[in-house]
Amino acid sequence: MPSIRDLFHSLGNKHNILTIGCGATKEVVSECLKERGLSKELKDKLIEIQGNLESIIKETFEADKITIEIHDRIYKIIDPDTGKLRGV
């Protein structure tokens, strides 16, 4: 069974994949928008995708703040490696 430390490490990595992956995808969409001859409908959709990706990045940062809060509370009372209550 993974330790609490492992679980937080893994969760942090997943958050990073979300922010980095969305950032990389945003760049690709941005390149697509520079293409000539795009219809207005397609351009609008690409701009919408960019906005959605930006929202995911923003929400992931917020999720991470909450994760840190939970992390700090748990680490205060539980040893993250053994899973045992501190001072018991």
Partner: protein, 132 residues
């Protein structure tokens, strides 16, 4: 301007999803990117390819500071390499200070963001130009 083009960058992180996205993003921008997921490979790639910039995860393996060992080793091999350390840490001030003492240029505490990477790489390109 005196920058070896294309500039070589190495990213070291135990999470493959992170290194893959990083490589795709910066390869598109014209950089040569080496993605590495463990400490041993990081040293081997560094010795062979001598990237100018290294992004290194501090917490490479479960609960260990393997990233710090990588930083120390590659700074021994090539003192002029620009290293940026990454990783969440509750004691940001002391960690950043310690990593800078070991030769890191910056410490990114918290979530990673492509805009941060862009900014740091631009800063390093300017440093390379100013020091050449």
């Amino acid at each position: 301007m005196n920058i070896d083009k294309p500039l070589k960058i190495m990213i070291v992180d135990d999470e493959k999803g992170i290194t893959r996205c990083f490589k795709e993003y910066f390869s598109r921008k014209g950089f040569v990117v080496f993605e590495v997921n463990d400490g041993k490979s990081a040293i081997e790639i560094f010795e062979k390819e001598r990237p100018r910039i290294c992004f290194i995860d501090v917490w490479m393996a479960s609960g260990t500071h393997e990233g710090v060992d990588i930083l120390k080793r590659i700074k021994e091999i090539e003192e002029s390499v620009y290293c940026i350390m990454m990783g969440p840490c509750s004691d940001e001030e002391n960690t950043a200070m310690r990593l800078k003492e070991l030769g890191a240029l910056h410490f990114i505490n918290g979530r990673l963001d492509m805009e941060d990477f862009d900014r740091y790489i631009k800063e390093i390109e300017n440093l390379i130009v100013s020091r050449s």
